[in-house]
Symmetry: none
Subunit: 220 residues, 4 copies
């Protein structure tokens, strides 16, 4: 395991670096500590990633690939389906999309932290690649919204970007403040985290669907 396995060494460094960069930032993280925790010689970091910055960028890239992967299946809805189903399928698709996203973040809290840190710094590394990080995972929601409006299922005239921003915000925050919430919620942490998804979904569906459609309550 430890001996002479390039792929293993490389990914070990990446894993450790992800945690360090997420928790301490590009500057706060130390190459020395990353090497130590990866149980590898410091030199290997430069062997595989050229520089601390190179490693950082690779960590970002790996994380983006994860979300890109998610995006492929996000908000799946066959637009050509029969109309009679839409009033159920559209809210269901939104509900599912938010859940997928939220659960992705729950599994990848470092993704949240890395993105947030990048954004705080003005996004020196991402913004060239990804102009609008809010849309990551939500590209298809724009089409679904239009479809929903056309069929009288979703409210028209909404600024859908504001809604996407709010979804992001509400889904991100338990992971940007993970440490604190773990302490505050204590044993309830896992429970509260699950409830939070329901809370977010309800708020969003209430905001986005026409009042005549019943969208919540049946999920619990």
């Amino acid at each position: 395991m430890k001996q002479r396995n390039a792929e293993c060494s490389r990914s070990k460094i990446l894993d450790v670096a992800e945690v360090e960069f997420a928790n301490s930032g590009l500057f706060g993280a130390s190459v020395n500590i990353i090497a130590e925790k990866a149980e590898l010689n410091k030199r290997m970091i430069y062997h595989y990633f050229d520089s601390k910055e190179g490693l950082y960028q690779e960590v970002l890239k790996v994380n983006f690939n994860k979300i890109f992967e998610l995006e492929k299946n996000a908000f799946s809805l066959n637009i050509h389906e029969q109309k009679e189903n839409l009033s159920q399928k559209i809210p269901q698709s939104i509900r599912q999309g938010i859940a997928d996203y939220y659960n992705f973040l729950k599994k990848n809290p470092n993704y949240v932290k890395l993105i947030t840190r990048e954004e705080l710094a003005g996004g020196p590394y991402i913004h060239k690649l990804i102009p609008d990080t809010f849309l990551l995972g939500f590209e298809k929601l724009l089409q679904i919204y239009e479809l929903g409006v056309k069929n009288g299922i979703l409210k028209k005239g909404l600024d859908i970007m504001q809604i996407i921003i709010s979804i992001n915000a509400m889904c991100f925050i338990p992971f940007t403040r993970q440490e604190m919430l773990k302490e505050i919620w204590g044993a309830d942490y896992d429970q509260k985290l699950e409830e939070r998804l329901e809370h977010i979904t309800n708020m969003i569906l209430k905001e986005i669907t026409e009042n005549t459609h019943i969208t919540e309550g049946d999920a619990n």
Copy 2:
């Protein structure tokens, strides 16, 4: 005269440091650059604040004082007022409380960034002082909620903490991703920022008030 200079130097350092720490973090910020931008000798920083960490803590403290100041007037509602007004006053108070908070963040984006960075790092400096940073500015909302429930104005059984967390999240996010939004929204930035407050308020009131009460639409 000299004393005034001293005061001026001190606050100049604080102002510069706030920006640097907000944008670059405790480790990313450089004492040299802070001194340069403050147009003062590096030595002065140690004179007034003992260390970089000392300066950082003072910056945090200054920012907390601002929000404590806000808190004094937040969600003002004389609980002993006549009951017939409550159905209007409670939503109005909530609306006002969110607006005050949001406008405070708009005026103090560094506050947002500093808190967020602290939380990302696990809050090594704040958590001893402030166990729950979500409550900053929202202590009174808990009481108002209970009053609202007792009077049948607000929905009962809500997890009010989830709602406070969501207010925080939705209000914070335009300032944690300020740079990106400035670029994306361009000339509309100010307009969108104002609209966002309305968006947040509507979502929260819709979530928190009983359906029979009309809470939105009359604010514009």
Copy 3:
């Protein structure tokens, strides 16, 4: 002397660095050793010169300034003097110019070594500043040669650049191979070094003057 004297510290570093770079080259020299020998903290090198390379360039600059200073007085000859003196004055001026140059190199063997190292490496630092390092100290010789030819004192049709190159070569070599010659010549080293100037001057004057003019032998 050692305490808090910027000028002194700076020049101490320069002096030590000159020796180190001359003997070991830009890459062979060590910042650590330079700091040690200068009895100063390594950090000061970066304080005053930004980088090892910056220090190296400054050392070159200092050495060029020395030769520029020499150049001002080199091959002094008032061209408007009466012609009857020229047959003596021109050879005398050449003799003096070579002697000044040679004695300069004797006093500044590091100059020789630094230039030679630069040239061996293709002159990455000098060539932008000084396209033709052979001419350093010999700019005026070109005019004197023309004057001498016009007055029938110096041979016409000579490639004066080849001669300047040869003067350079013959004057440089005892200092590029200083260590070896010190060992070979032993106690005679100083004596031989003086004789060498005579040897060079004689060869050059023999090459450059018309045969009818007696130019050597009266100098000893």
Copy 4:
């Protein structure tokens, strides 16, 4: 077949290393770059030469062997030849010796650079092997000089070492400053290089032969 490859690898490394050491010095040259340029694995360098230093010494050795080879035929003059020919043969032999040496350097500029770098550093590697690098290629000149003096062809009382040093200097310099001269002389470079040999030879012969003997002009 494989053995041939081995031989090829070894000499490829040597060739590349010669260039690198000549242009960048022992410290400036990088084992990595040598391996890259030789299109071989770095490990091979250690396989064949044990260490960077070992490789460097081998490069020096190879270059010395070249000049030793030259020396065998240098300044060829059968001392027992009839005296009536000596007045022609001795100058001719000197002329030939210088030309051979000069042309050797022209073909092996790296030899020049390597030796010069060694000397600049105080000759840590050569001086144990070769106490007097000036004599490389000129051992026989000492005997020829004595023969010339005895026969009244060469000036007596000359310090022949100074002359050998000057030959070295004048022959070396176009290759220690090769890059610069290529730029300055441009298209004339090859022409000037040839003329330089004539220039050197004439100066030396003028210096060394009795005035009564005509030594130049008839060689071209």
